[in-house]
Point group: C3
Chain length 681, copies 3
Amino acid sequence: MYMAQHPLRIGVDYYPEHRSHDLWERDAQLMQQAGFNVVRMAEFAWVNMEPEEGRYDFAWLDDSLQILANHGISAILGTPTAVMPAWVARKYPETLATMSTGHRVRWGVRKNNCFTSGAYRLLSERITRAMADHFASTPNLIGWQTDNEFGGPVCFCDTCRAEFQDWLRTRYGSASLADSTLDQLNGAWGTFFWGQRYNTWGEIQLPEDFSGHNPSLCLDWQRFNSWLNVRFQADQVHILRATCPGHFVTHNFMGLFSELNYYDLARDLDFVSWDNYPVGDAPSFKYDAATAADVMRGLKGKNFWIMEQTAGAPGWGQFGRNPRPDEIRQVAYQQLAHGADGQIWFRWDTCTAGREQYWHGLLGHDNKPLRRYHEAAQVAAEYRKLEPALANTTIKTDVAIIYDYESIWAFKIQPAYGSSLWDPSARGVNNYHNAIRRYHRALLRAGMNVDMIAPSNDLSKYKVVFAPHLYLMPDDLAVKLSEYVRNGGILVCDGRTGVKDATSLMHPRTLPGLLSDALGISIEEYEGLASDMSYGVTGTNGFTGAYTAIQYADWVTAHGAEVLAQIEEWHLENFAALTRNRYGSGYGYYAGVNVKEDAFYDALVKDVMRNAGISPVIAPPPGVEASIREGAGRQVLFLINHTEQPVTMRVPEGKSELITGTPTTGTLTLDRYGVAVILLK
Amino acid sequence: MYMAQHPLRIGVDYYPEHRSHDLWERDAQLMQQAGFNVVRMAEFAWVNMEPEEGRYDFAWLDDSLQILANHGISAILGTPTAVMPAWVARKYPETLATMSTGHRVRWGVRKNNCFTSGAYRLLSERITRAMADHFASTPNLIGWQTDNEFGGPVCFCDTCRAEFQDWLRTRYGSASLADSTLDQLNGAWGTFFWGQRYNTWGEIQLPEDFSGHNPSLCLDWQRFNSWLNVRFQADQVHILRATCPGHFVTHNFMGLFSELNYYDLARDLDFVSWDNYPVGDAPSFKYDAATAADVMRGLKGKNFWIMEQTAGAPGWGQFGRNPRPDEIRQVAYQQLAHGADGQIWFRWDTCTAGREQYWHGLLGHDNKPLRRYHEAAQVAAEYRKLEPALANTTIKTDVAIIYDYESIWAFKIQPAYGSSLWDPSARGVNNYHNAIRRYHRALLRAGMNVDMIAPSNDLSKYKVVFAPHLYLMPDDLAVKLSEYVRNGGILVCDGRTGVKDATSLMHPRTLPGLLSDALGISIEEYEGLASDMSYGVTGTNGFTGAYTAIQYADWVTAHGAEVLAQIEEWHLENFAALTRNRYGSGYGYYAGVNVKEDAFYDALVKDVMRNAGISPVIAPPPGVEASIREGAGRQVLFLINHTEQPVTMRVPEGKSELITGTPTTGTLTLDRYGVAVILLK
Amino acid sequence: MYMAQHPLRIGVDYYPEHRSHDLWERDAQLMQQAGFNVVRMAEFAWVNMEPEEGRYDFAWLDDSLQILANHGISAILGTPTAVMPAWVARKYPETLATMSTGHRVRWGVRKNNCFTSGAYRLLSERITRAMADHFASTPNLIGWQTDNEFGGPVCFCDTCRAEFQDWLRTRYGSASLADSTLDQLNGAWGTFFWGQRYNTWGEIQLPEDFSGHNPSLCLDWQRFNSWLNVRFQADQVHILRATCPGHFVTHNFMGLFSELNYYDLARDLDFVSWDNYPVGDAPSFKYDAATAADVMRGLKGKNFWIMEQTAGAPGWGQFGRNPRPDEIRQVAYQQLAHGADGQIWFRWDTCTAGREQYWHGLLGHDNKPLRRYHEAAQVAAEYRKLEPALANTTIKTDVAIIYDYESIWAFKIQPAYGSSLWDPSARGVNNYHNAIRRYHRALLRAGMNVDMIAPSNDLSKYKVVFAPHLYLMPDDLAVKLSEYVRNGGILVCDGRTGVKDATSLMHPRTLPGLLSDALGISIEEYEGLASDMSYGVTGTNGFTGAYTAIQYADWVTAHGAEVLAQIEEWHLENFAALTRNRYGSGYGYYAGVNVKEDAFYDALVKDVMRNAGISPVIAPPPGVEASIREGAGRQVLFLINHTEQPVTMRVPEGKSELITGTPTTGTLTLDRYGVAVILLK
């Protein structure tokens, strides 16, 4: 229903409760003039809707929704549980999270509730039900957003400890109070180490120190905290589905944020939305926004929305670079090209009060529609031209990268390698993300679209699967990957792939364990390299170039695999840096070192693609991104200039460029931050 | 009375309680031989004066004061409340401050009391009253120092929370228990944001996280903590005034320390003193000591004292560079030149015990009068020659810089721009101070004296007023600044000037808001630049030079203002870096970017001075500071060499150099760290 | 008895409780094949030996010991008190240490017990007694290790405070409850400073902030915490001695770890062992492993064991460089050369579970004997050839360096100099260790063996004594050092030597105090240099070279001493950088600055050695270490190549190289990481 009018939704995040009532009509007029057709509202308005416990006031929101409806604008409402009202904290102090130091956090920032607090869960259900009941039949309400940017906090209260013990009891056997399954937990966590065997569930304490506690305990604690968020959302979704069956339910995710298992969080939703803020430091290729978009699309394997899109420089205490002319348009097109069917700018006005005074919107502090408003309006107008071609299209690709939250968490707990002068948790997460980035960026440079998928996904639809740093690998996953290769797939693995089992124990096998046959190698030793160390690497057997290994090195022995690159050190001259193995009708690649130069990954991707027999529709020049949406017999090519110079490039001739409505000649010039959308068929 | 003998006071901080009694007489003799006429004493001697609760022992101090009197030395006594005795902490544990983590600080360092503790306030009043009663008629006692270096700590106990709520109730309306004025607070803090509206005063919690809590709440919390210190001092001043009407009361401030509103703290005092430690890192122009001196003089608009002057390298755990030959003399002259009528070296001996064993005094750990003692004695002898000329003189200047603690605090809470790799609070304070420094240092280099003034000061006495980074600007201040320009003043503003109102809400106007007419510009957009970013800037319309914008950039549109410098970037070519606007009979300048090169500010100051029709008496060569004291028909020029090379310069001919007592020829050579004092008329 | 078979012990740390029982027999076979004759076991197996309070299970360990015995392998058992079982933490929560923030640490990491907890001490005694009783007559048990790597934690509970007050009462006078001796503490701590005088013992609080609390209080708190560890060990040693008189008792120390007074901890033991992990960053001369070995040998003045020797890259969360081919052999020989009669690799297998999954052993996660196993086996085989020559030999040298824990602690509390951008505690410890390193490394480069000795040692057996940074110097020590020089010794002192007395008060004398005559100098001033500062230094009077003073400078005046190097700065041209003083029949050297260049220390050592009339048996080429073990009429020279290039050098001709069993010609080539052992006589 809500997609009836337009396959592409475009609009803005809107907070009427921040604004004097006499501006509301003008706001709606300006939105309409901009071509907007949707707003998100109310996700921080708990105290406005329930000023005192049990007393509700929705009149103001009804009023605002009606004004928006008068101007053809639909709305999404957020459940407001990301910020509890002050009265909740005062009446129910146990709803505030307890820090690892044992003191309760002081109310006044966001996301400060304990997720095992029964009181908080009941309060959350009550306001959600009250909203659902009240707004179920509001005509221009099209959907719901649960809470806001789930992700914490981690609470160390006694209730959390008790629930964690219960959760473990469920996970490792019977949920009864008997301790009969504790042995299973002792085994899964390897509590023989340091004599940490538990005699009763009640002995289990919370791991305050991820660099010191048992890694298996830490991993389950991370899983538990992720599950607490998922459970909290499920409570709300249950109510919304029952009361508002015609509305969609989504949540605004945070791209590469990795404290929660986003696959789990997405499961209960209709589609994924996310919040995209790629402008800040010096201008450059917005690689991470592309990677994050592919991760977001991968959460449910379908198109997504942007629920908060950079409208200006964001910041709580300070702000960074202002988006340059045409840059927020470019940002929007990049997401559209990766599957964003909704684009909602954050935010309408720039708030004059509170912690986000520097989160700049389309209007300024002066309430004037600024340059950025006009750029957003231009995008909205262009969307209307693109809609016919883009309806029912999405990204289709032969190439996937496995993206796995449990491996990220294992790296967070044990970064494996890296400088000791850096926060270990962040280092671990970065080790993983950088591994992903190395391949994803090389694929972007090659003009390839990529699916980011869970380890549990069906691999058979892909010709190539990258599994970088896939740290946690249960045996069935290793078997599945091997079968994929045997059946003709191309698999690319690298350092720390397949090291651990599902509870973070080390596999008791020579690396790469069950993947040894598929990869044709064995690894008996490996090492981390300090920041002042590097090894020379030289291509061989047709793989050319000289490179530099940094950070990490496996000592890889080829057993049947062909050596494509060699380490140039006296003590490693018998070991390979890169191998390629023919296995069944597929290939298994292994990169045993992290390489400094992009050119290495470009060469690797080129080799992989040649063997996979795939090539991009267009090989973009440096700094230009190419992405293709397909479906309903159509194929639409997006070309996006990430540089601040005009770029001229060859494109297919005689096609239609949809924004300008002109046919393509063989050559096309993209302006600074310029965009072209070409209907290939 | 206390100024009767000498208009210039010179001496040392003295701790007889640290020393065996048989040294006291020799101490006084050595002080007398050095030409000292004043000491400060007793500010850490609470336990010596009140060994047990309610039992007083002043005999030792009477004895010491008498010995000093015998040698013609006057004394200042400090109230000893900066360090509570161990018995206070044990008997009244609630007097110890509570950390944000909820645990009480352990006794044994300084400044560890809670300022809302009724017990502590009563204990403070009692020891102050006992001292005042006892010493009221001591002949050589001339004045009092309250406490020591006010500035904390911030306490998170329940009493502080309750007092904060009361303080807010008073600030935002009626002080009664009724909640009728809470709406005013909700409005002033913009609690509509994130649904933070309060229903009762009791819901207000303390902001433990300045980077996350509501900025308006944080600002009031900072004001409240400043006020707690001011109130604590007022309690003591009240007693001292009543009992010792003939004594002055001062406090030792800390220069550019900015956690308290020093204007408020100075209000109850006769004059300001401060503690000056400018020697540490590699030798260079002691800019900050000059800036701080001008701030200190500005607190009450009159001359000040140095209560602690660098006698040697200071340090609790480690020490830095030792002052070089003649350097502590140079330090003293710099302060004298900026208005210091008292100079008290810290400290007499170098203590053999406790946390300040490395705070080096005039005597060594061996109790011998060292080189630095002899240099101090030389200064004292020279002071006697200078007194006749300096009596009743101070700095008089046409140039002021507005120095505003509330703007500093707003930057502390929201730094606005700067690298994220730095403590945000410190970054914010540095952003402000660096803005001040850019102008103050350029004025120093130009040979100009400067008054540092509060926003509330009368501006009409100045030809030029700089208002850098004046973040908080109530409307009446904007009107006042505009009127100042209209009436012929020259106003220089820059980035983030006038952004916020008195409760840290953003003004809902296009920047620079009410200053737009006076400055002839508008600013719709602005941005922070990451540390790897910069913009080229080029002078125009007679303003010459090529510069580099860093850190921050307003996108300034001139509306009538003349553009003096332009940003050289494709996306900013229509925006100005520096403007000058004729408004009424004055000029409004606006510098929209932070510039890396000193030359930019030198050129700006030159342009400003030309339009103001002012010029320095002497244009000092690089590394030399010039300052003038005037009064009683006299004008005294100080020339101070900050370099380690002799500097030869042109000076007015036929005047008297007062230290050497010789007439000036047209040329004068200052030795390394050399000083000249020339009676111009 | 335990030395009967072999003077050299070699083996591995072994955790049968981590492994399935069916591997135990194979483990023992592989160990035997490797030539191992000893294992250490059980130091983390409390929960295995006492699964529930008071119920013991030693059967599994009996079984494992029997299997090992069958293969000729002896065992050392650790008391398991470094990790309490989970049931201890749950039943006796007061045994967990209290953090400075007041919350109790959460069980699950190591070393988390409070050492004043009576419950913990009783539990420790009980498990120790149960083990001793059970294993007293196990034939292949040869000795005990107390606990594991003593060193914490520091606990802030009320019991610790009470015990600290009691400990102070004992230290400063009568142990009765009367306060009559509190004056002595007030004097020893200089509590006159900041008015910190105590009226009752109960007023003494714990110093949570080493950068703010009284340094004398901090020093005694550090001593107290060291003593708590020593007392805890003594409780166990008492039981072990009584029950197992035929077994040795040792502990695994941690080299340059300095939180405990290792001399005290060593006193109750038969010999010292330590844990050596010198491989990690880029390859280089393993200086610190040599320095630590000499410190360890010095703790009791006799040979020592390695209880944990690098078998692979270690790490809890991440790992560093993998030892290169032959490198763990080189590491073992370096320790043997410095007096290690036992070498136990850590660890047998690489654990698949828990926090040390990345602490790599001789077997991999796959349980296969890796390259490193074979290298260890080679070393064991070589040891059998070397034993006859090495029996009853140790290091004998004319050169000592004083190594003093109390001076380290004083630097930890007050680093004296160094950049403020660094953790002060670590900086202080590094200041001391770097001072030690400068001399020790120069002596290593000169081919000299060195004894590291306590200040209390007999000096008369040494021709040269270095006393770098000997911060704490009671008068009797200064007298002893002076007498040492007068009687013909050569003493080398440097910055901060002799500054403080035994309770961290500053000596009230001109530096170097009582050493002034012996050194022929005086120092009235000194300074710390910021990281951007340095002074030129030039040799004179036959001491050649140009150098750079950094970090610290005394302003040294020679009074009779000969100036060997001069500071080249305008303000220091009358001060010396290096002096040599003839005093009695000896020499006193003083280096007043820290010098950047190694060449300065090489030249100084050369000058010292010439005046001492000593020279090394062999002057090793760069990168090669030479060490000599002597005894029983034999003299054995070790040559160890720290570089990754072969090195050819001259050696005494016609001697026997013991590993190859070949006679030496005049020239010998060491391979990469190569080792030669030459029987000189």
